[in-house]
Symmetry: D2
Subunit: 338 residues, 4 copies
């Protein structure tokens, strides 16, 4: 860790800080420059957190050398983690399609959509039972009865299911019905939820928050893995920027960036990432081309009557065509669709 002192810091201040660093077992360094004194701390710098050096009135700033996350890092585990969702897998050389409606609305709607996406090539079914909605007047999901429908339909068609959990109190019931727990963008930093999902015996699909830095996403995953659950999938779903043309700005650059730093699989949600049906297919191909491990896509048997996110949901026929067009792109980057 590098500690830059303010110009007015005296030698005594520096000595006191160096003594603190040494007391924690790190090697202290005194680096007097022409305009600033800089201190260094060599070793496992993460223990310095407890010194709160940045709070000291004579410290200008503190610059860590090491990443603050550890368990999710490729430096700790160089090989790709493969996550199993029921009989489907995410990670490695496969490219996985997760698809289904934004919200579970009825058994009929789920079944029709599930059959369509399975036939087209999806290997995991999605559907929301607990829906976080911006307005209290919007459809809030079917809750536990939605979970039951999702689970039943998954079994009927033979697809494992993933669904969002929004509240710590619901983790048990969601884990009972679902093959994978989804933590949504708005809850990426609901730390208690992360911990409880880390204790659950189900894989976790963790979406990046709307304005979460990639380091924060990795630290959120670290919360889950630190509880003993290393079956975590990261998901880029667009971030919030100044651009009003699209619902979100899909940050695909994060795919190769993350995959270089973590062993966890990274998938992309082009539905929320664009907010527009017309843009889903090109962005799905782009995600595959830059190395994503899969996609999660909203498909509805009839988007015109969808209770949420209809504008960004594909018609079953569009999804079929997308999978068809996606295959050569996936193969062009040396992977295969599972």
């Amino acid at each position: 860790m590098i500690i830059v002192l303010k110009p007015e810091a005296t030698r005594d201040v520096a000595d006191a800080l160096l003594a603190k660093i040494a007391s924690l077992g790190l090697k202290p360094l005194f680096l007097p420059g022409t305009e600033r004194v800089v201190l260094g701390a060599l070793g496992e710098e993460r223990v310095l957190e407890q010194l709160h050096l940045e709070s000291h009135p004579m410290v200008e700033r503190v610059q860590p050398i090491l990443s603050p996350y550890k368990l999710v890092s490729r430096e700790v585990r160089p090989h790709d983690t493969i996550v199993s969702i029921g009989n489907a897998v995410v990670g490695g050389t496969r490219f996985t399609m997760i698809a289904g409606p934004c919200a579970v609305e009825s058994h009929e709607q789920m079944l029709a959509t599930a059959l369509a996406v399975k036939e087209a090539g999806a290997t995991v079914l999605r559907g929301g039972a607990f829906k976080p909605r911006t307005s209290p007047y919007a459809f809030q999901g079917l809750g536990v009865s939605g979970l039951r429908i999702l689970c039943d339909v998954g079994r009927e068609v033979g697809l494992p299911v993933v669904t969002e959990v929004v509240d710590v109190a619901d983790v048990d019931v969601v884990a009972q019905y679902a093959d994978c727990l989804q933590i949504g963008a708005r809850n990426m930093q609901s730390f208690q939820l992360l911990k409880v999902c880390g204790q659950a015996k189900k894989p976790v699909l963790l979406k990046r928050g709307m304005s979460a830095r990639l380091e924060e996403l990795l630290l959120a995953a670290e919360y889950i893995v630190a509880e003993g659950n290393d079956q975590v999938i990261l998901c880029e779903r667009g971030v919030r920027t100044f651009e009003p043309a699209m619902r979100n700005t899909l940050d695909l650059g994060c795919v190769p960036y993350l995959k270089a730093r973590t062993h966890l699989p990274v998938i992309v949600d082009p539905s929320h990432g664009t907010g527009a049906r017309e843009l889903v297919s090109p962005m799905a191909k782009a995600a595959a081309a830059c190395g994503a491990d899969g996609l999660i896509i909203e498909v509805h048997e009839n988007p015109e009557v969808a209770k949420s996110d209809g504008k960004q949901s594909l018609y079953p026929e569009q999804f079929r065509r997308l999978v068809h067009e996606l295959r050569p792109v996936v193969e062009a980057v040396g992977r295969r669709m599972s």
Copy 2:
């Protein structure tokens, strides 16, 4: 509501949509332009949500005329809501100071800080027992024993207390110890938490999310008020932008913007809003000058050893000076410090 159709939309599509609008009791309008057909819907347009018109493949976009929030709107209730926290009040012509450490660390630390902020002029005491922290390796707060310390110290010094609640399961216990429930920036869209706090019999201090639009903040407050609790204080605490110089960008423009649209009081947190001790005092004055109803400020008896946010915490002496310098600004805009 204005519905802009795509250029290729036929008259039949328009007629079908108009019939749907009429079936919900709104007055439908057909407005054929030179390049686009536009439809209108006159009346209580919020019911149109259920039609999901934006999902229709022939609809280019939908533009609401009315705000999506209602109960928190000044159009519904023109007069300022005054929120009572114990014997303190927020709103109206008073200017309220809420102060205290980021986290409750010990009885001694809380007591020393509480005495200092009370003597300087604060009328509400803050302190976190459940701390949402970006890293799993950072101090996570004392939990319920922190609540007890906060509550005890509040009684000792005679100040009502506000503290953050991060989980639905904790609302009861926090409400038992605290005079006001704080919902933090990361939970502004934890909708279940909003609902449960809306059912609690305590006022709620609702912080704006890190990248929350003002309309979303008002809708979050609408969730609380819709449950029957109109004792809600909005709090601007800085938003996330491209600027790395400060922890957040304090969006003071939102103060007059919000106060024109809602009857709820609006306060400002210049500690998180800047992340730097040196900037707290000037931004506190700016907040007062543009019409905020109060401030929430981090003060620690000794920021150098604070377990969190020490960098942005004021020394007690700095807080005293701030209150002293703030008074003429508060009076210059026609208010008085309570």
Copy 3:
């Protein structure tokens, strides 16, 4: 155009505004709602700009129905514009590689790099002679002598050249030496420069500004086309967001978004778009996969000694490999590398 009046607007105000609308030859509409009066104006609404309706104290907001740009729109010209740079083309079914160093440094450096990128498959050579640099103490480019080197090397190796013009006074000299004028991100809204490049007899490569909305990019292109020059290439090069992990956030979603709305070709700059050599190749493939018409990539014969942007410049060998790996992706989306 839709004009929403404030709640307190009287019928007289509405009538006066309607009369103004009618006086410009548009059909005025009066749409009284339950909470707001809305006015409409049917016809070529762009003439309403001169009424400045948004400035009226009784107008709450104004919502245009039509896009503010016209000449660059696909509605005006449905077919793809093909831009010729020397003997190379951009647009249509081809996928074009533009490559070269950030800055022209010497004849040797340019020649070595030009030979390498041509051999690898680039059909246009890039190189900056006038360099806009954040710091006055950084290398500012070789100016006119750099132009001469670029031009000479282009002829030697048989590649047309593109280079940035930063100042109106330089347009003539740059147009004399270069086959295509580049307008950089920082100058996307240097309107006088846009106009003068619109009068030049050379194609223009227009980069999106660092925080430019897509509508603003299209309006910047409209400035050029309105002067009679329709040989304009749009270029996404990353936008500025809250994310510090990368130099910019590459907004690939804009590629299909723009191509649906404009007939102009759209290319991508993954070098500036990521700022990191390691990310260039995956993002180049992603750009191809989502429908870009080409790429502009920084390559330097020896990035370690590059005078600018070395961190994001590919080694010649990396560029060769990129072109090799890119080909199947380009073909997977039905295009061919030119």
Copy 4:
């Protein structure tokens, strides 16, 4: 400067880099850590720019210790720079009001507005002759005849004038008519324009770019001062964020941040900073409260017919009231209106 090497960097790489550092006269440091090797360079690190260390394939990142700007820094010149615009001054203990219309439209309009703002307390008159406009179809300003009107009216009413210059070729003519050259937000990084304004014998009002970091703003000012002109005023005018409620997000936190780091005066433009007439007055007071040296405000004798920015222009009567209400705020922070 701190140079963090990649984990795979060998001792030889480190030695080669250390030799380069030493060859430039800096003291090299070798700091081997547990997971990374860190190198240091003590001394005038700005010369290291020429080594382009960040481009080296074995360098993970480079962290400067010193700020990249120098002449504008308070460390170089601790005392406030006072800028003179005609007989008005900006900086020090005074608080300066600059006011006038967005655009010069006619002699009558300018005269009426100038008389009103002078009578209310403004000491500098603003008015645009060259208008940068997003759309080519919008009013582009009167050009040189606008300059003449502005200059004439300034003399008639006895106010010095400030006006924007958008093109290098216009600097001479603008300097002939105006008492202060304004560089607009879109041109903050038009480096040639900065240099030429640095050579002019007139003070420069430099607006922060729409998404410019504060370090970039200071470097832009450094361009001007490096040419010998230290009469530079910095101006915060709002930045672009995700928030659509306002035209821009006014970043007032930058005022105390900048004033701690530079000796140049800092003023605020609440007109562009909010885009809404109703918000100008509260944000003007907030700017004064947090230590701004003055304001630049758009006032139009009749905003309803203003050719640009009418929505954010004050009526003369509103400006009069603002100055009246501002005075006690200015005095509350220990300054006086000039």
